[in-house]
């Protein structure tokens, strides 16, 4: 089993994801350069946080045209696990691998703090090791996390249980005050129809060591590992 962490120019959480997977979970992991179209031998790809291409024009708007994204699309179509964190989520939206779009945060400011998100479904490879309803304390750090989509898309996401994480209060209740950016339906993370592409604004790679204040992000990576063990990828 092998993870790949994509490095776009301007990625700045690439080392953190690499550290979490390689050092904390002790899983094999490689950096993937944005100009590479080769994801051979990988079982899961992480699009890390940061400011790819300076987030000029619009968050993720330029990164989606990089060569590696063509490979990521093929990889996803074949059922490979793709995890987009923060800027990675924004890129997945721009690439059309996930539906919807991001607006500036409700407060129009960058927000960095720990938030609480509820696991809405354990029926995804990213949450298989979690309890439905489990509340995770994970940091966010973004200016553009205000998820939006047309009403039909939101209804479909809701109906198909594709809203995987929602912002909640520490005791797990939905409340406007618990939503840090104004996202529609308190969305913190969603998955594609096939269930193998997840985008989320919180940074699970920042919540893998008690020394950093939380280990609640581990369950997402562990779920991925567990799912891959159960159902190994046919490599491309």
């Amino acid at each position: 089993m092998k993870f790949g962490v994509v490095v776009f120019p301007g990625s700045n959480c690439d080392h953190d994801a690499h550290h979490a997977i390689g050092k904390i979970l002790d899983q094999p992991v490689d950096f993937i350069w944005h100009q590479s179209e080769n994801l051979d031998g990988l079982d899961a790809v992480v699009l890390p946080g940061g400011f790819s291409y300076g987030d000029y024009l619009r968050t993720g708007a330029i990164a989606r045209f990089s060569p590696v994204m063509r490979a990521v699309e093929r990889f996803a179509r074949r059922g490979g696990l793709v995890l987009g964190i923060c800027n990675g989520f924004q890129i997945l939206l721009e690439a059309g691998l996930l539906p919807g779009a991001m607006l500036r945060n409700r407060g129009l400011r960058f927000v960095c703090r720990h938030v609480w998100v509820r696991v809405e479904t354990a029926a995804t490879p990213f949450t298989a090791a979690a309890r439905p309803g489990q509340v995770l304390r994970i940091p966010i750090a973004h200016s553009d996390g205000n998820y939006t989509a047309d009403p039909e898309t939101l209804a479909e996401l809701e109906r198909d249980e594709r809203i995987v994480f929602r912002y909640v209060t520490p005791d797990g209740r939905r409340d406007e005050s618990a939503n840090p950016n104004g996202s529609a339906a308190d969305v913190a993370g969603i998955v594609n129809r096939e269930g193998n592409v997840l985008g989320l604004m919180p940074h699970p790679e920042r919540a893998v060591e008690a020394l950093m204040g939380s280990t609640d992000g581990l369950v997402i990576f562990r779920s991925m590992v567990q799912s891959l063990i159960r159902q190994p990828q046919v490599t491309a």
Partner: protein
């Protein structure tokens, strides 16, 4: 005209004629008649216009330290831990296991007033380049900020308050924009608001990086014939004379017109430059490297040649530009950001270019290292400047400017005591809600303070920021401190307090203070009163750094912080770096659990509280945060300082953390004991101090006095005896004040309940104060 042949040859295509240099033109460049003569003597002829530009920036106050140099010599700069001291791009200290910490603080005050967002952003960019120029990867940024009042009723006109708010908003936005995109966590610092900073905010940025000890790079041009390579952003007309005109002169009413002198920031470009430079340095193809900061190409070429004992020749026709029609003068003086100059090992140019191309950056060979000691600037075939590099850098003017202490103050109003038995709850509430004391959450939530996943103690969680070193598991602690009000009242004692407070904060986090960096913000050095403040502050820093064994490894002097002739409070800001053998032993300030005992440690020892000199007490209390907020006074003197007591406390705090006896620690500073107790209970989901203490001081002084060398720690009840024993071994007095409970904050003094309030209420006042102040409407200016 010149009687030499240099630099006249015009073999290249004709260029527009440069203005003739006269003493008058030199004066417009901020050069005195003596400096003009000195320049001509150094050249042995009249300078060209480009040369005049080069001299004027190189000899500006900002670049040459001409007014401060004679005083800076008094600072201690050596120690076994110091690998590189002042003079390099940043200070370097040994942190064990073959690694070193590279850190420095620098100001970007004037640009941040003229254009707050870009000014602050480029301040962050500049100090980050200083760090990675040395081969270190930046791992943290702290900001020490000063603004004018932002609240209504601060005694300044509403229009000024509104402008102060805009400056605050722009500066925070600029820091956030740059650091977040670059990917370095902004983990701490401090913010204060005082009237004197209304027309002249301070933006001091400290950056910390980590390098391998054998992978350090210095700004030296070596090896005759080696290529000189320009990398990074293209050169434009932005920032010309940023160093000489913006940073080296006072402000007038026309200062906003200097906006074109402010540089424009591109953190994405800097991120690419970081990765490419670190990769290039690791390849071995780079022999020397210098960032283009103040005075751009001028400083980088002349300083690399001067430090390397060599010369450098560059051709401006080869410099990548983003604007057409730039003159040699403009190219040499541009302060366009995100640029670097490096010396490549000859024969490895292609390898180097390949690395930069991989990161989407241009690398252009623009010249070579020479053996003649000259900084030679060509424009095509024409020589436009030819200056001996070392004299230009090292033999500039140095001034021992006149010094005069201020006239003794007329009789001033001092604090009066006499509230024994009365409740001080409303006073505590006011102090907690004052913007200086209140939580800066509104600010630091706009900073990514966690990226790189090393932040063990982040903003608002402890007295110092603590970063883990992934390679070794050790911890680095950092704190910046400086109290302009105290330095105005007594620059010597005030400066000592800045050092002591920063060191105490680092020790409270469990780290041993090891080295310092300083940013010295003062008014116009041509005024003897300002120079006296400066000299006294240097003496104070020197004495405290010597006593606390924290040598100064670098920093920056910022003079001319005046608008319309009004200087700021003298504001030396000290950053202290400390080392923890194990990052997991770091302490935060918050109470941890109900039932833990609260202990006040006093480095002054058991004899610290002898007979009370009421007169002295009143003077010292008049400069406190309580006096400012509750009594509306800022007079008297800072508290007397006892450096031996500070040392004992520091040693004791480090020992208590390393023995894992203390589970939280917080020093007593602004607002004294009462505020410290409150801050320890915030963010703890309902824990509250239940404290009874006694003494021979008036109650206000006992609860809100700001005498140094004191800290609060908490400890499990079962381990209290062991803690007291260890404290005694270090000669520290330890008073068991009470226990951590729940619900109400309770503080009794000499048997009377002095403060009682629900913690939730106090926390709301403290936590939301800045947002409340910023959203409160101001009266329409009349």
């Amino acid at each position: 005209m010149s009687d030499t042949t240099h630099p006249q040859p015009a073999t290249g295509p004709p260029a527009p004629a440069e203005p003739v240099v006269t003493a008058e033109v030199a004066a417009q460049h901020g050069m005195t008649a003596e400096e003009f003569d000195r320049m001509r003597a150094m050249l042995g002829r009249d300078p060209t216009f480009t040369e005049l530009g080069i001299f004027s920036v190189q000899w500006s106050e900002h670049c040459s330290y001409k007014s401060s140099r004679v005083h800076l010599k008094r600072l201690p700069t050596r120690g076994p831990q110091v690998i590189e001291g002042p003079g390099e791009n940043a200070g370097v200290v040994d942190i064990g296991d073959g690694l070193c910490a590279v850190f420095k603080i620098e100001s970007h005050n004037h640009p941040s007033f003229v254009e707050p967002h870009q000014g602050a952003a480029t301040g962050v960019g500049g100090i980050l380049r200083d760090i990675f120029t040395m081969g270190a990867r930046p791992i943290a940024v702290l900001d020490s900020l000063r603004f004018g009042p932002i609240g209504e009723g601060s005694g300044v006109p509403a229009a000024v308050t509104a402008r102060n708010r805009r400056i605050l908003d722009g500066v925070i936005g600029g820091i956030s924009f740059y650091g977040n995109c670059f990917g370095v966590p902004t983990v701490g610092g401090e913010i204060r608001f005082e009237r004197g900073y209304s027309g002249n905010p301070l933006v001091n940025v400290l950056a910390l990086g980590i390098a391998r000890r054998d992978g350090l790079f210095l700004a030296k041009a070596r090896g005759d014939g080696n290529p000189v390579v320009y990398v990074g952003a293209r050169t434009g007309r932005d920032g010309i004379h940023g160093a000489s005109l913006l940073a080296s002169a006072e402000f007038s009413e026309q200062s906003q017109q200097k906006r074109p002198n402010v540089q424009v920031a591109d953190p994405f470009m800097e991120k690419l430059l970081l990765e490419a430079c670190l990769e290039a340095m690791a390849s071995g193809a780079v022999l020397g490297i210098q960032d283009m900061g103040a005075a751009g190409l001028t400083c980088s070429t002349s300083e690399m040649a001067a430090h390397g004992g060599t010369g450098i020749e560059i051709d401006l026709r080869l410099v990548p530009r983003r604007e057409s029609g730039m003159t040699p003068y403009e190219i040499m003086l541009s302060e366009s950001q995100e640029r670097m100059l490096l010396v490549c090992d000859r024969g490895r140019e292609a390898e180097l270019t390949g690395i930069f191309r991989k990161w989407g950056l241009e690398a252009m060979e623009i010249g070579r290292v020479t053996g003649d000691g000259l900084m030679r600037v060509l424009d095509g075939g024409r020589t436009v400047a030819e200056i001996p590099a070392r004299p230009l850098c090292d033999e500039g003017p140095v001034y021992a400017r006149p010094i005069a202490p201020p006239a003794p103050a007329a009789s001033e109003r001092l604090a009066e005591f006499g509230l024994e038995g009365e409740t001080l709850t409303p006073a505590l509430e006011r102090v907690l809600a004052s913007p200086d004391v209140a939580s800066k959450r509104w600010v630091w939530e706009q900073y990514d303070h966690m990226v790189r996943t090393n932040t063990v103690v982040g903003p608002g969680r402890g007295d110092a920021a603590v970063l883990r070193v992934k390679e070794t598991g050790r911890g680095l602690a950092l704190s910046t401190d400086g109290n302009g009000r105290w330095c105005r009242l007594d620059p010597f004692t005030g400066a000592m307090h800045a050092v002591a407070e920063a060191a105490r904060n680092v020790a409270a986090s469990g780290a041993r203070p090891m080295a310092a960096t300083n940013c010295l913000n003062f008014g116009n050095p041509e005024k003897p009163g300002v120079m006296w403040q400066f000299s006294r502050a240097i003496d104070g820093i020197a004495e405290a750094c010597n006593a606390l064994r924290t040598p100064i490894t670098g920093g920056n002097v910022s003079f001319y912080n005046e608008t319309l002739g009004e200087p700021i409070d003298p504001t030396p800001v000290i950053g202290i770096l400390g080392l923890l053998d194990d990052a997991s032993a770091a302490l935060g300030m918050s109470f941890r659990a109900e039932g833990h005992r609260i202990v006040l440690l006093d480095g002054a020892g058991p004899d610290g509280s002898g007979a009370v000199d009421r007169g002295r007490l009143a003077r010292e209390f008049s400069s406190s945060e309580y006096a400012r907020t509750v009594l509306e006074l800022a007079s008297g003197a800072p508290p007397a300082i006892d450096l031996a007591a500070e040392n004992r406390l520091i040693d004791g705090l480090v020992a208590l953390a390393s023995a894992r006896l203390a589970v939280s620690a917080h020093d007593l500073s602004d607002g004294g004991l009462a505020v410290a107790l409150a801050e320890c209970s915030f963010g703890t989901e309902g824990l509250a101090p239940q404290v009874e203490c006694s003494g021979n001081l008036p109650v206000e002084a006992a609860l809100f006095g700001e005498r140094g060398a004191r800290a609060l720690v908490t400890v499990e009840a079962a381990r209290l005896a062991r803690l007291l024993e260890l404290a005694a071994q270090y000669g520290i007095a330890a008073y068991v004040l009470g226990r951590v409970g729940r619900g109400d904050f309770r503080l009794a003094y000499n048997g009377h309940e002095a403060v009682r309030a629900p913690v939730a209420r106090l926390e709301d006042l403290w936590s939301n104060a800045i947002e409340r102040v910023l959203t409160a409407s101001l009266p329409v200016a009349g």
